[in-house]
Each structure stands twice: as structure tokens, then as C-alpha cells.
Symmetry: C2
Amino acid sequence: MRILITAGPTYEPIDPVRFIGNRSSGRMGSAIAAAGLGAGHCVTVIAGPITVELPPGARRIDVETAAQMHEAVVAEFPRHELLIMAAAVADYRPRAKHPEKMSREGVLVIECEATKDIVAAAAESRRPDQRVVGFSLEAEGNLDRAREKLQRKQLDLIVYNPINTMNSREVRAFLLWADGRSQDVPAIAKEKFAKLLIERTTELFANR
Amino acid sequence: MRILITAGPTYEPIDPVRFIGNRSSGRMGSAIAAAGLGAGHCVTVIAGPITVELPPGARRIDVETAAQMHEAVVAEFPRHELLIMAAAVADYRPRAKHPEKMSREGVLVIECEATKDIVAAAAESRRPDQRVVGFSLEAEGNLDRAREKLQRKQLDLIVYNPINTMNSREVRAFLLWADGRSQDVPAIAKEKFAKLLIERTTELFANR
């Protein structure tokens, strides 16, 4: 199987120096890449600005912004059977990037617009032989919102995890399937969770 | 001599997941710390969220926001003779941190207010036996603005460097002194520049 994995945060520039970022470390995406390679699959990782190492053997494409990640997913997904969107893509970006570094003067108002919903776009464009797995990072216990995202974005599987998963070595997750099934996964190391996730995604192909 | 060095960026939270950051790597602060230790001084580093290593032997205080860095400088400066503000402190922070992760809906407006000017406050409060060195990151060639900062903030010495210094291994700088002297430093490795800077700061104490 050829697996496309997105990992890490995106940075949305405010000016040449400042950006809006988020606390994703890329550790989950890296763990999933390692699990995929360990199971004998071909792995491509589209990585935002991360400092964690990616496993040797993964093909790596570096991006910075949500728009660049979207472009890379559109270009790469056709060559893969499975997309796992583990990146914490910015939902908003500043409408305009200031060409020069801004000085400290009074109040600064940053107007932001929504970025494109990459995982929804990928799911909409997928072929019958392709599967799409999303992540939903929500406040503790907000499973309903993850389920709503699963349906609205027409994903095959969504991983719900609470916000404190971010930048942590462990994950406490729920897997939610399009057909209504779910699996409660107790807090385990991201490496262990990644292996479980790769097993479950393999089943997505058997079930149709 | 006891030297207090600030290093790296600060992160200003928008909500539990997102923040406004900047492209500082902490490499310059780390190099100055190593040069200070190498010259036999005692070194304390107040570090924003950085991934570069600090030299062993430096005392390290970790902070995240501009407000935390300000607090740490106020607490630590009295125990040091020299402050070198190599950190890229955020000039602005969101007025309010959203308690929950915000969803992607329409337009987001982030209202920001100016943070405190740490180096100016430190210079104003300094004893006759203390010296304060600032950094001025400006567009290429904007030396006038660095000179204006040196005077307005009443620093002993300011390092002007162009924006592309950030997150780079080299630096191209001008040193500007309160008495009008200046030194043009061609592009050199940050480690080499750090040694030069420590030499020049030592002279600040001889000259008064």
C-alpha cells in the first residue's frame, strides 16, 4: 500500500518575521510513518515545520503554510491509496502578509480568513480504491463534534483526540468509523497507537 | 562577570492550540552564551521556546510569552552585571486568549496589544555597574532605526542585523555605541560574532 501522511503544524505568515503557528510537534505523523514502513508499506510524508525526526525510508516533502500543504496533497494523493491527515493544519490565515516587519505601535488587528479544508477536499475527490483518515482535535469529551466532522467531510475513519495530545508523547483517542462503529483507545504511546491505526486502516480496504 | 542573555522567540497564545510566534531559532543567544562561558564568565540564559541546544554550564530559565520573559528579566537582572537581549520578543500579543480551541467559521479578527519593552525597562532600571545590550532586527540597510532605538531606549550598545539573520547560521551586523562609534561586521558565523560581541561588551565596563 502507498500511504500519504501529513504531519506537524503549518505556519501562516503575518509579516517576514511573525506567523500564526500551533503546538503540533509532528510526533504523531512521524510515528504513523514509522508504523506504515514497519508494516511494509510505501510512505510519503508531507511535513510542516517540525523538529522531530522522520523515520528513514519515508519520502519527505516539506511545506510551511496550509495552502502549500493543500497543494502538496492534491499533487500527491493520486499516487497513493491511503491519506492520513495527522497534521494540525491552520484553520485561519492572515488575509494579507505585511511586506515589511511591523513596528510596535499602538494596536494591531490581524484579520484572518479560513483556509481550505484539505481533508474534506481529498475525500470528495477520492477514487473508489482510495481511503481517507482524518483527525479531530477537540476539547476533552467532545466526541459529537468529531462524529459530525466524520460525516460532513465524508471520511472513512476519524481519530478523535483531546487537545492535550498535542506536543505530548502519549495519545488518548477514539476511532470513529463512517458505518457507526467506534473504538475507545486508552492512553498509550504514540508509537503504539500508530501501529494500531495502520492495522485498522488496512481493514478499510477489506471491508468494501 | 555575570551575564544574563535572552534567547529565542516568544509565543503569544491565541487559544489553547494556536499562537503568534516568530522565526527566531535561539542560535544567536546560544552562541553568545557559549562565548561568555568560554571567556570565563557566569551565564544565565532566559530562553523562549527553542529547539537548539544551549551550552552546558549555562543556567537556563525557560519561558514562553513576552510577559514571562519580562518577569524573568526583572527578577534576574539585579544578580548580573550585563544583559544581552538576543531574544526576538513578540512586540504584540492577542488582547485575550480564547479559553477553547476556535472552530473554522467565517472571518477571525485577532486584536493585539503591544507588549512591554523589556530592554528599555531594564536599561532604565540599571545600576551604574550594569550594562545593557540590545538587538535591532530591521529591513536591510535600516541603520537609522537601530540608532534611534539605541538612543530612545538608552542602551550601551545595540546590534543591528537584517531580517535574514533570523534562523540563519551566519550574521551580518553593525555594532552601534551610545557615544556614536560604530563597527561594521562582515557576514560571519554566529559563533565567531558571539566571541567578538563578548569582547566588545567587556570594554563597556572599562570605558566608564
